[in-house]
Amino acid sequence: MYAELHARSAFSFLEGASLPEDLIEECARLEIPAMALVDTDNVSGAPRFYKAAKKAGICPHIGAEVTAARGGRRVLLVENRTGYRNLCRLISTMKLRSAKGAAAATDDEFRQFAQGLICIANGSQPMETLVDVHGPGNVYAELQRHLDRTGEVRNQQVAAIATKWKLPLIASNGIRYARASRRELMDVLTCVRNKTTIGEAGRLLERNAERYLKPARAMRRLFADTPEAIAGAMELSGRLQFTLADLGYEFPRYPVGPGETMDSVLRERTMSGALGRYGLHHEKAYRQIERELRLIEKLKLSGYFLIVWDIVEFCRRGGILVQGRGSAANSAVCYSLGITAVDPIKMELLFERFLSEERGEWPDIDLDLPSGGDRERAIQYVYQRYGKLGAAMTANVISYRSRSALRDVGKALDFDEETLNRISKLSSRGGWETENRPEPQFETAGLDVADARVAKLRSLSRQILDLPRHLGQHSGGMVICQGQLDSIVPLEPATMPGRVIVQWDKDDCADLGLIKVDLLGLGMMAVLRDSITLIRDHYREEVDLAQLPANDPAVYTALQKADTVGMFQVESRAQMSSLPRMRPKNFYDIVVQVAIIRPGPIAGNLMHPYLRRREGMERPVCPHPLLEPVLKRTLGVPLFQEQLLRMAMIAADFTGGEAEELRRAMGFKRSQQRMATIETRLRSGMAGKGIHGETQDKIVKAITAFALYGFPESHAASFALIAYASAYLKCHYPAAFLAAMLNNQPMGFYSALTLVKDAQRHGLHFLQVDVERSQWPCSIEERAVRLGFNYVKGFRQRTAETIVIERTQSPFSSIDDLRRRVPSISKDELKTLAGLGALNRTGSEPRHRRDALWQSELALRPVSELLENTAPPQAPSPLKPMNPVERLHADFAGSGLSIGAHPMRFHREQLDCMRVATVAAMKHRPDGCHIRVAGMVICRQQPQTAKGFVFLSLEDETGIVNIILKPDVFARLRATVLSHAYLVVDGVLQNQRGAISVKAHDVRACPAPASAAVPSYDFH
């Protein structure tokens, strides 16, 4: 028997070439009973290593190679829980006080955190120090044999020192990869780490391919002269008792007053909240709340709910909009506590999807907050409340994807930048090429796939996929701990100042039972917040999102017409094309609409049966009368995950936990064996209820078909609330909504220009940036939107603020006056303002943009001190005013958008001669007719679910139209479609129930103002 006690995984970030799971798989194949994972300065791979080892029946030891300040790395193995805590604290201590990438532990730190750790001495550190710090009984001398002369010299030195200090010997193979074939990838990773190429790396590369997992027989043969080293490894393995099962994590206790418990406080707060939500006599609600509270108490989760409630309360007190999303919306307790905004009783949502006794998992509560400063305030509150070492963000393990793989491997193999750009561009993003067919992209990029170097690029790019590259910060997941989080998992500073992350990602945290709260930034929440403020300031009205009129006709009219640009979740091209068919009439329709236009339901062919039944083209039928209460609302078509759970519970008597297990078994990582077991249980359950034969098959098929794709109803309902609110504000307070949208860009599906043009078509007026009127953000003047300085390219907020302060003293008398009173304004800033017309009303007489440009050049001239405060002579400008097209160009150049006429407007006469129809006119043409349309490309898409179809959104001065390109048409016209900002499209009109699109057969470039091009939003 042999235990491998020194293995690095790919979590050593470019210093190991195999995933922890691959190492374990190889251990299992070679019948190695135990392995120690010792990644460099981290335990990021430990949870996955532990999980895989547990499954394979292999003993997973944990450790790390810790960088020493005096040079080299010290290999430390964890003996017990104290040792694990010390290892975590040692790594945290050195990382938190060092710059990123420069962490190293001092001798004092090693000494401070030595208890419970075993040190493996390999000759790189002075033995005297190691024995002194760790104690003679805790130091082992390590021999490694990689068939290398210098290694053998070191072995002899280590053996001699071991004899001198009477240290036990252990043998290891210093694993860097599971199998020898991964040596090539290891060499490539070495190049990436050292920023060099394979031809230049020289002796940085591996000398041979011996650092792979070897079976006990091979290791015994290798150490035939020192068999005690093999035995030593096994003995040491037996001494290492710690595994991650023994983490000792405890969720923080919520502080309660004397005589109170967390359960009692939660009950009291829930009930007082429920009174506000449901009144006194809602029996059904109180029954559900009681049921939930009992389960929460039983699972000892009261503290968790109170802590989330505490965060929500902080947000409320601070005026921060907050709304829970995800499965928490299934809980009446969360609704009563104000964590979520959807009433699960009214919506008949399923609590078991959120929490079940059988599942043994922490519930998942995600909070949506306005992105930006408000979200940061909430995060900082959590840090303050639980201390820097008691809370941290979860990590996001950045792994190699097809593009980064090709780029890094390509660079290492010395492919030139241009070739790599070519391949990367053709690589899969948004589904341009399928992941499993890289050959076409190599050929398309002009590479010979038969060439040996190209073949290496191909095979190594595949091998490197999914290998971790570095640790990033998760967008919002926070882990909180009772006591010191740094003794549960090492902490390290994130790139963002003031942020600390744990070394595990959110799945690892969940797997190891660490509870997390997701504080997610949502752009639309910021828009809602800003809209409310603008409405309060300019309309003198108070909008309460919780009290919006429920069935506002304007909202539903807009939704039914797919007039939804800017509305949350229902604005995309795909949403727009289905809305006229769906014709939402009530809130639940919006919930369905949010859930149905997803890759899942589309790929699972759920969308069309539902829409057909909704349009009356198909009869709504249920697979069995028993399921009617579950499927009635969705016309017999299961659309939501909660329906899957309920179907199993009703038809086969599954418990809530069993149903959730079914959902997981049918999820993306399907296991045939697990599925077969659950199907058997499902069928026997149905048989017990008298459901047999064809009906049984139909139900099983329905469940298995949509389990993969179903969207949680609770989540859809939370999003639908925000969608409704955004639609309501857009319809009733368009200026406030648009100003808020513009101030929170980039977000959503469309560019600022598209938002502006859509709003103009709805009659909203916009005012140009003006140094005498504009604020930093866009604002409202007389129900029109005044563009802010934030839409002046390259303009600094500090300069804008100085302008605003100065003009409150007195208006600027001239451009020169502006320059003198705002000395921080730069040459470029002043010129851009002049080009945009922002200086036209400065001074006593209005001027045109070119006049302002002429004067601003003079204002910028360097003058001597004597003349510094004197105004230059004001001679009339000899320049001609800009014509409308020139103004359009200046607008695009200075702000990226234009509030003047649409670029297509300038070519309408010419387009009329070409018999190009406007988008508005198309609505009156019959379905199936041939049509020619032209416009600015605002979006290009090739969804993975669309089987190679490409969709374009073209905008002209009258509206937006969808263009559909079949794969063969796109292949033929690819260059034109991708390289021109304005297109003319010939095709067949599809005008079905108000949903307008054109099936293109020819596309060409459109005459248009050449420089007035905006970047389209491509391939989202």
Binding site: H146, L147, D148, R149, E152, R183, E184, D187, I198, G199, E200, G202, R203, L205, R207, N208, A209, E210, L413, A452, R453, K456, K831, G835, R850, L853, W854, E857, L858, R861, P872, A875, P878, L879, K880, M882, E886, A890
Partner: protein
């Protein structure tokens, strides 16, 4: 008056010099004075016709412009196709329609003009001079004057570059090197004297030998600029001895590439070194004897591949001696190059007997295998297992097995 030719022919300067000694050349354009030509050729139109005619004879396609000042002539030639004659006083009108890009102003000024809506030279010329100077400084004034077709730029005249070529044809074909070198010596004397006169040296000799059928060329790169005829002749001799011409020679042409001469200041504390010319000569002789790729300073390559080295050219710059600490004693190996093939008899996977032409015998002790492999990304990937073997005669050798073949790699001292 000035004429400007604009085109991509390399012979534009040659054409210009046929009409004037005062020629300024630039990329794709030459400007030259035609003052006084009216007395020789006639009117401005006749001068233009004559230049065009001569250009056509020389096979040159170019725009031609004649104006009262060089900038106006250049602007017109660069931007107006064919022949343009601008009568004095009509420069501004002729150039008015040209785009402002023709002025090749700085990016910042170009952007400013674009923002002002100034697209042509006429529009630029119409702006008030004072206003322009106030806003764009001297650059504004200069551009406006150019737009008006005004300018007083002087021509930057340079004499044509000298050529250092000598050619001689023999009455009878020459078969031996000696008479050839005799001729070459005279040529080199003449060429180096010319170099000396011009304050130049050379770093490349091109020798073209005319053969009965075809030509034979040798190019000799010199490590530093030289102009010593004897040293150059020796280089030619060694080069031709190393690669003699394949047939009898009917003529020889020698061309020297001129470069700035080397300026050398010896250091007070630098050790005396042989004269670089002599050292280079010695190395050239050695290369003739040993082969081109077997002379130089050995450099160990950055690779795990055993015995990987290359020769790089010897450095001639003397340097201060490095601090030479006493090196650690090391076991030295003497490589056999190329390594002789061997037969090795194994016992339980370890070498037990070695048979080779150089050394044979029973192996009493081994260490190994020492495994190395690399260059897997090339078609010269390698992999080998080395063993250190003590033979019965106590000799210690290194043997290795690569691609199933054993070799005797070397012996340890």
């Amino acid at each position: 008056m000035f004429a400007c030719l604009f085109g991509n022919s390399p012979r534009l300067p040659e054409l210009a010099r046929e009409f004037s000694p005062l020629v300024e050349s630039a990329a794709e354009a030459v400007v030259f004075s035609i003052a006084g030509l009216n007395r020789l050729i006639g009117s401005t139109h006749q001068i233009a016709s004559e230049i065009s005619r001569r250009g056509a004879e020389m096979g040159i396609t170019a725009n031609l412009a004649i104006a009262s000042n060089p900038p106006a002539a250049v602007l017109a030639a660069r931007n107006i196709a064919g022949v343009t004659i601008i009568p004095p006083g009509q420069e501004a009108d002729t150039l008015a329609a040209l785009p402002v890009e023709a002025l090749r102003a700085s990016a910042e000024v170009s952007l400013t003009l674009l923002r002002w809506g100034i697209h042509t030279l006429g529009e630029l010329a119409a702006l008030p001079e004072m206003g322009l100077v106030e806003r764009l400084g001297e650059e504004g004034s200069r551009l406006r004057r150019l737009a008006l077709g005004q300018g007083d730029a002087l021509l930057a005249i340079r004499p044509p570059a000298s050529e250092y070529t000598a050619r001689r044809e023999f009455d009878d074909p020459v078969e031996l090197l000696e008479p050839l070198l005799f001729a070459a010596s005279a040529q080199l004397q003449e060429l180096t004297r010319k170099l000396d006169d011009d304050g130049q040296a050379t770093n490349r000799i091109t020798v073209n030998l005319m053969l009965d059928a075809g030509e034979f060329q040798r190019v000799i790169e010199l490590p530093f600029p030289m102009r010593d005829a004897r040293a150059l002749l020796k280089q030619v001799q060694l080069s031709l001895e190393a690669s003699p011409p394949p047939a009898a020679m009917t003529g020889i042409e020698i061309r020297l590439d001129p470069v700035e001469p080397r300026i050398l200041q010896s250091g007070l504390f630098l050790p005396a070194a042989p004269e670089p010319e002599k050292l280079h000569l010695l190395l050239s002789r050695l290369k003739v004897l040993a082969g081109e790729d077997r002379v130089g300073s050995p450099e160990i390559l950055n690779t795990h591949r055993p015995d990987a080295y290359r020769f790089r050219p010897c450095a001639f710059e003397p340097s201060l001696p490095k601090d030479t600490a006493r090196p650690h004693p090391r076991l030295a190996i003497r490589y056999f190059r190329p390594p002789p093939m061997a037969r090795v008899i194994l016992h339980e996977g370890r070498p037990r007997r070695l048979l080779s032409e150089r050394v044979s015998g029973g192996i009493v002790q081994t260490a190994g295998p020492w495994r190395t492999s690399g260059d897997w990304w090339t078609d010269t990937a390698w992999s080998r297992d080395e063993w250190d073997a003590v033979l019965e005669d106590r000799g210690v050798y290194r043997i290795y097995c690569a691609a199933k073949q054993w070799f005797l790699d070397g012996s340890y001292d």
